[in-house]
Amino acid sequence: MANLTNLYDVSKCTACRGCQVACKDWNQLPASIKPFKGNYQTHEDTDGDTYTIIKYFEEEDPVHGVSWNFIKRQCMHCFDANCMKVCPKGAYTKTEWGATIHDPDKCIGCQYCATACPFDIPKYLKRVDKITKCTLCAGRVEEGLEPACARTCPTDALIFGDRDELLQIAEDRAKFLQANGFPNATIYGKLELGGLNKLYVLTDTPDKFGLPVDPKVPNVTFWQNYVQPYASWLIPLFLLASGTSFVTTRLIANKNKGHEEGKEVVNDAIGS
């Protein structure tokens, strides 16, 4: 069947963060209160209890003056989902309409998916010792409802529907914006990484919104090609053999240190 997804149009977003809260309401997530650091975007990134955030970027140039750009960040539901490829327990599945969902019952909290994600999306949640992330509200969609974020968007910056049709809307909108003061307007998600099940209309180039212009899958080929296919019997052996790296990763994550740091350690361990 057709892919169903969200189209997010930055030119209509007022960064009210209704989506961010509606996501918590629907997914029954507690707040994660962290100190204010001088930016409206209090959450530096998504976390185990926060599947989506709005990011804020202030820009200034002599012609247009100040602009304030907002973008919603969450799982991109890549067609070719790398998280799924690397998961040793097969916790990830792809719905027939394009959502990448994660089964907490199968997850062992190893966080290899977090390492493998080109967008740094899967997050470890210590409370349950598992990975969590946006499911595109699969439970709602399969009962005929929009995802909570799209449903709550007051300005229709987020809409939900058939990806092909949304793509058409997005392309038309980008053209309209190009002709109306945003010459760099573009769409995102159509071709990146072979296609994302998440579409964006941007008023400027992706880098202005913190999106990778040409996203790449992190280098985890060893795991992906050799370990994962034999996961069921190889994992216990592998874990035994490289226990150090596993434990190191876990410790680092548990200390809530930076994600990047954790990634390096994991990559080194796997690559060696």
């Binding site: 007022t14 009210c16 707040a31 209160i33 204010f36 001088g38």
Partner: protein, 830 residues
Amino acid sequence: MTNSVNDLKNTDCALIMGSNCAENHPVTMRWLLKARDTRGAKLIHVDPRFTRTSARADIYAPLRSGTDIAFLGGMIKYIIDNELYHKDYVVNYTNAACLIKDDYSFEDGLFSGYDEENRKYDVSSWDYQTDEAGMALTDPTLQHPRCVFQLLKKHYERYDIDTVCEITGTPKNKYLEVLKTFCATGAPDKTGTIMYAMGITQHTVGSQNVRAFSIVQMLLGNMGRPGGGINALRGENNVQGATDMALLYHLIPGYINSPSNAPSNKKLIDYIRSVTPGSAKLQFSNLAEFRELVKAGFPNSGWKINSSKWIVSMLKAWYGDAATESNDFAYHYLPKRDDKKNYSHIALFEAMYKGEIDGLVVNGSNPVVGGPNANKEQEAMTKLKWLVSIDLWLNETADFWTYKAWTRSVHNSAVPKITPENIQTEVFFLPAAAVYEKEGTAAQTGRLVQYRWKGADPVGESKADLWIYYELGKRLKKLYEGSTRPEDEPVVNMTWDYDDGHGHDDIYKVARELCGYSLVDGNPVEGFAKLMDDGSTACGNWIYCGGATLKDGQWFYKPQKRIKEDPSGLGIFPDWGWAWPVNRRIIYNRCSVQPDGVTPWPGDEARKLVNWDAAQNKWVGVDVPDFVGTTAPDNPNFTKPFIMQPDGYGRLFAPTSAMKDGPFPEHYEPWESPTTNKMNSRDLNPATKIFEPEKQGTVDKYPIIGTTYRVSEHWQTGALTRNLPWLAELVPDMFVELSEELAKEKGIKNGREVIVSTTRGDLKAIACVTKRLKPFTINGKKVHQIGMLWQFGFKGYATGDTANWLTPHIGDANTTIPEYKAWLCDIRRA
């Protein structure tokens, strides 16, 4: 709002000024963006700070806080100079052609009639020249030197673009872009909306800021038409309803001035004379005589000719059988305020500070965070003998007596050393049910009244406020039961039967009284035109009359209507909820057609709301016509569309007592200003009362302009947002926004703590250094402005210092709304 939230989609241009609607009324952006996408509407944001509203606007123009009249005065001049006004509209629907008395004058910041000693105007010269019947003389050519149009033109001659930009600090090219874009809506086939909020009203010239809007909108012919109007975005879900019900000292329900001890309010008939326009010089001495005059009609009365019916019906609702024609319908029961006294919020807390108030009931309100000069208001509360706080949470006001309430992060000489032991106030906290744990109606900003059903049980023993008031009222009545003292009669005879038959409150009984019923057959009164002043109808609030009806023989509350149909496509949804007055969604809508009452404005057929139907001999339309239904456009008594005004005209010039500080808006500086007034030699609004002269900060010590505001994620005093973890996590701390330039000058780093000081107090907060604020160039000098959230206090999941420790006890000349939006301060690294 004169129009509605949905109507924003019909606009060709929105001037958002003194409002940050994307953050504070997020859903309005839904309809504005629809207007932009479907009609090519332009969105203009005028604000000291680049906000999330500016981010979505087509034009952002900065202006210094407190200079709106300069900005709009320049716009008025631009409209007149370039003949961009909607001429037919101006001549026929406004008082542009009316002649003003010869002794009216304006000179160097003062209108005629000023009394320096009392800071008050004698307004008698601000009036029309009239004929023998009392009707205003007019010159429809608009050429007479004493006509309003010419006086207006002369008044704003000084507001040239260069002078305006020096005052406001707006870059000239941006100002011109705003003028050109918005004033294009003067074309007959275009409409433009003005949206405002507290950024306009919270100034010593707040009311005149709004007046300036009305002049602009009437010149451009934007009132009473879809996509137009002056749209106050009100701040609390039912602040409209609370105002309707007159939880304000100067009113009784339905926007009628509350009675005072002035000789003109002595008896009911005197009071009726004082609130009924056009009746001052008529001969009558009792209600019977007055009724005859009303029946015949008299000039300059407008729709308020019916005031007696509204007042008497309210007295019948309140005092039942004890209100009879022979005792003036118990008019003497109503409290008469001291006519010379101001009882508004600031004055109330000043009196409390002096120990003049013993008991305070706080209803879902939090003055310790939300009141101006909050350190002082908090100290004032220590002088209370008792305090009743009704709320969901122990907010800062309920907990004002605790140790924490008197702890400050920065040493503050304004805050005395107080501990719970030396606060002798007895405090009662009553836990209230949350909005969806009870039922009732709320009037939103477009006057639309909607019903809330109960979706959950109250937590623990918390109770709906309705139950609390009902129970309290019952107990008070019991305490006074049997008293024969005349002063106790108002309590003894107050009707208070809201029992559902099981000892509980019945909301429908309250609603029935509110919306009115006949004392003859008990049925609902179907509209305020049917209210009577002979004691045969009871109605708690005439503007809510018609809010109930009989449906299949059963009493039915119209706010419960949920039919989502919009036959006109104009976003009217006539059967969704119920709007006052009489379900009218766009007021003054008679202006959506030409004076003949039939022809739409050229090129604007689609936005015609109503018209006179000669065949049916009545007004018809897609909205409820704002005109006496069966009065033809050519009837001499009702040729003018603004029927709530005595003369029916839209007021470019506000005659006599309409305003306390002038018939035309004039620019004055805020009480605390970094500069002198370039427009005239009066710095402060001459009619504003000064409460605390010793607390005025000056530019040498406090060179920076401070202002306060909300964000999407926090609301009002934060009680309803800082106690919600999902909102606390979005904005977890109190912060102050400042420009990169100021941060550099002061060595302040983003995300680090700063201290902001004023004459009234100091606070500590986190710096948010941003490109979105820029220094202004004002009268040739660089001036910085900073801004901060006023939602913080010491309770809840997110806590922080209170911005209102800094704000002054001074208010608007007409309303005494505090000047929260422009004051002087200094800032330094913590």
